[in-house]
């Protein structure tokens, strides 16, 4: 109602689908954490995953860049395609995938290195820069994109861990965008931030939408409503409802969604 959704939904074709998940199952040992989730994530769109704690939204998010590989007892089944390519195919190297699908975590986790090195790390290991000048350029561009350049440009050599919580999180976003990903996964990026820092990060997410497909897991329904164009509601490992954010928040189709977003079930 209040959002302009002129740029979406109209004429969605295969080109606009960034991630296509079909019948995805995730197991933690014997625990069936994600059940039959099928969802199409659009390009240049912010998609929010909401749901009560333990509903599987983070688990599903982590299976999109195969971060679940790092958990030995975790098993992912089903078909997840990034631009039509199966990300779980045996020939896919998860490291290469993660360079394309960047991730920002719940707690700001800058490396205990300088601000510069934090941002430069990704480009360095992926060989994105030839020489110092080019690297400087990438670092500046990434920090600008993360709307933190003006705050840190005079102290790039200072420790990243010495920044405030909101700055740290934006630094982490800068670090994630420095590797030029195509998709940005955000796992509750604002849960440790104050409202002002949250607003800054949200503003940033809205800007990142111009270039990336952003998927954000959030506990705050207001945040999902504010930043996303698409919302997926997870409950007990099921994808209950997926649709335009405006619809989900004014007139959800499923009673479980309604109960959750109106604060009737935790």
């Amino acid at each position: 109602m209040m959002k302009d959704n002129a740029d979406e939904r109209i004429g969605v074709d295969a080109m606009d689908i960034k991630f296509a998940a079909k019948d995805v199952q995730v197991y933690y040992a014997d625990n069936h954490a994600i059940k039959d989730v099928s969802v199409d994530i659009l390009d240049k769109t912010v998609t929010a995953f909401i749901g009560p704690s333990g509903c599987g939204k983070s688990t599903f998010l982590r299976s999109l860049n195969r971060m679940n590989d790092t958990i030995p007892i975790c098993r992912v089944e089903g078909d997840i395609r990034l631009d039509g390519q199966d990300i779980n195919a045996p020939e896919v190297d998860p490291v290469q995938l993660r360079a394309k699908v960047g991730m920002v975590f719940q707690k700001p986790n800058p490396f205990p290195k300088s601000i510069y090195d934090n941002v430069a790390y990704g480009p360095r290991i992926h060989g994105l820069a030839r020489g110092k000048a080019e690297l400087d350029e990438i670092v500046e561009k990434s920090l600008r994109r993360a709307a933190i350049w003006d705050e840190v440009k005079d102290r790039l050599d200072a420790a990243g861990t010495g920044l405030s919580g909101g700055q740290q999180q934006r630094l982490c976003i800068a670090r994630a965008v420095a590797t030029e990903p195509e998709v940005l996964l955000m796992d509750e990026p604002c849960s440790a931030l104050d409202p002002i820092a949250t607003a800054q990060v949200e503003e940033l997410i809205d800007e990142l939408r111009q270039s990336y497909s952003v998927i954000i897991v959030t506990h705050s329904m207001q945040q999902a409503a504010r930043v996303s164009q698409k919302t997926a509601f997870f409950h007990l490992g099921n994808l209950v409802e997926y649709g335009d954010t405006t619809d989900i928040f004014t007139n959800p189709r499923d009673t479980r969604t309604e109960s959750y977003i109106t604060g009737r079930i935790g």
């Binding site: 971060m67 490291v95 790390y121 290991i125 590797t179």
Partner: protein, 442 residues
């Protein structure tokens, strides 16, 4: 909000915050008791530490001084030639020395009564020392040379108060009359006390010469062993820990390895000694008593400690750092070597130093592979042979001295402990410095 489940103004003993109620009093008293208990525990610990240090320093201090007889001695070319011509060459030197000493004492108006035997009992084989010096330095003939001749350990003990006139029985080592001679020499100002450099730099002496025993050679032995331990245990231990902690799949086999490593840390060190003897010396044929073998044995002993502490340090690195690195597309190895390991480094170093310190103080396994005190006869010829030449280690040396009959070795053992503690202190300081450096690099 009216939440009925909450107690509504339950009656309390007193509503004033100025009056302390019984519960609070009890709680405060318990806290005070606990604090007192803690301070008492620390006090007791400090007390024992002070007792330990004063005992060590008091008992060890005598080892750092020695008593010498300072004599100016001149040997002419003619006397030299003549002495070299006799059958008992050292005896001739001794006679010359006695004559000159007599002159010195006469000058000071001290009436002394001594002969070659009493001189040998008090100053050792003076003739031999002199002859050795002049044969090496013929250019020093015909001019006065200052000799500082170490007194025998019993005379040394007499001047330090360990040996008393009443307590001794005449023997071939010392007669009561010798002590009179010492008193006279002291009156003449010939005898004096000086810092015992030979103790720090020298090697072990025979059972019958406690005065000449030094710890230097075994310090070198310990040093070479620590080099071996550091060079082997640190890389192997850290590599094993990284593999187990970061890469290995969790299954029954790795569980078994983990349990075994923990058990290994608890195995008595003497078992490693036996193992070293059987495997390194008898099977592999490595030289006995060599710091290389000692180092290998201590490496086996230290590895579990280093592995356990390194794994703890790796575990302590927050998982968010790993996720962050993986999230930007670093490989597992890049994650570990670029981020996890540097953060775990201070912990790893601490563990390593603790392991090394433990190894440094270990005696039992060394005794089994023949690194006993008396083999430390001198310094190795070169750096590399330092690993393979027979040597001792500090704790083994101290143990050997403590086991010897002559009471003079008792001082040496305490002195050795002081040197061992200083060595440990240096290692700890090094660890602190290294840790600081790594921490500053975050």
């Amino acid at each position: 909000m009216t939440d009925t489940s909450l107690p509504q103004n339950a009656p309390r003993g007193s509503n004033s915050i100025l009056a302390t109620d019984a519960r609070t009093k009890k709680r405060n008293a318990a806290e005070k008791r606990f604090r007192a208990l803690g301070m008492g525990a620390i006090g007791i610990g400090l007390f024992f530490l002070i007792v330990l240090f004063t005992t060590i320093i008091r008992s060890g201090a005598p080892a750092f001084t020695r008593t010498v007889v300072d004599v100016q001695f001149t040997l002419t070319q003619a006397q030299y030639d003549e002495a070299e011509g006799t059958l008992f060459k050292t005896a001739a030197y001794a006679d010359l020395f006695i004559a000159q000493l007599g002159e010195i004492l006469a000058e000071q108006d001290v009436a002394a009564d001594f002969d070659a035997e009493s001189i040998e009992r008090t100053l050792g084989k003076v003739g031999g020392t002199l002859r050795e010096f002049y044969r090496a330095n013929e250019d020093q003939l015909d001019q006065p040379v200052n000799f500082s001749l170490a007194t025998s350990s019993r005379v040394d003990g007499y001047l330090k108060g360990r040996v008393t006139l009443e307590g001794i029985e005449d023997s071939r080592f010392l007669m009561a009359s010798d002590l009179d001679l010492v008193d006279e020499l002291q009156a003449a100002g010939v005898i004096k006390s000086e810092f015992n450099w030979p103790f720090i730099t020298g090697a072990d002496s025979g059972v019958d010469n406690p005065g000449g025993a030094g710890i230097g050679a075994s310090v070198v032995g310990s040093f070479f062993m620590m080099l071996v331990v550091l060079a082997l245990a640190l890389p192997i231990g850290v590599a094993a820990s990284i593999y187990l902690e970061e890469f290995a799949v969790q299954n029954r086999f790795t569980d078994l390895i983990e349990v075994n490593i923990s058990n290994l840390a608890a195995v008595p060190s003497i078992v490693f000694g036996i193992l070293g003897l059987a495997v390194f010396i008898q099977f592999a044929g490595l030289p006995q008593s060599a710091p290389l073998v000692g180092g290998l044995v201590l490496t086996l002993m230290t590895l579990p400690t280093i592995i356990i502490s390194t794994r703890a340090a790796l575990k302590a690195v927050p998982p968010s750092i790993r996720e962050a690195a993986l999230g930007v597309g670093a490989s597992k190895m890049q994650t570990v070597f670029h981020h996890v390991l540097p953060l775990a480094m201070p912990g790893i170093l601490t563990g390593t130093i603790i392991g090394l310190a433990q190894a440094l103080g270990e005696t039992a396994p060394l005794l089994l592979i023949g690194m006993v005190g008396f083999v430390a006869r001198g310094y190795p010829d070169g750096f590399l042979t330092g690993f393979t030449e027979a040597n001792s280690a500090m704790p083994a040396q101290i143990y050997t001295w403590a086991a010897r009959a002559d009471a003079a070795f008792y001082d040496k053992a305490w002195g050795g402990i002081i040197i061992l503690l200083i060595f440990l202190m240096f290692m700890n300081i090094l660890a602190v410095i290294l840790r600081r450096r790594f921490e500053r690099r975050w």
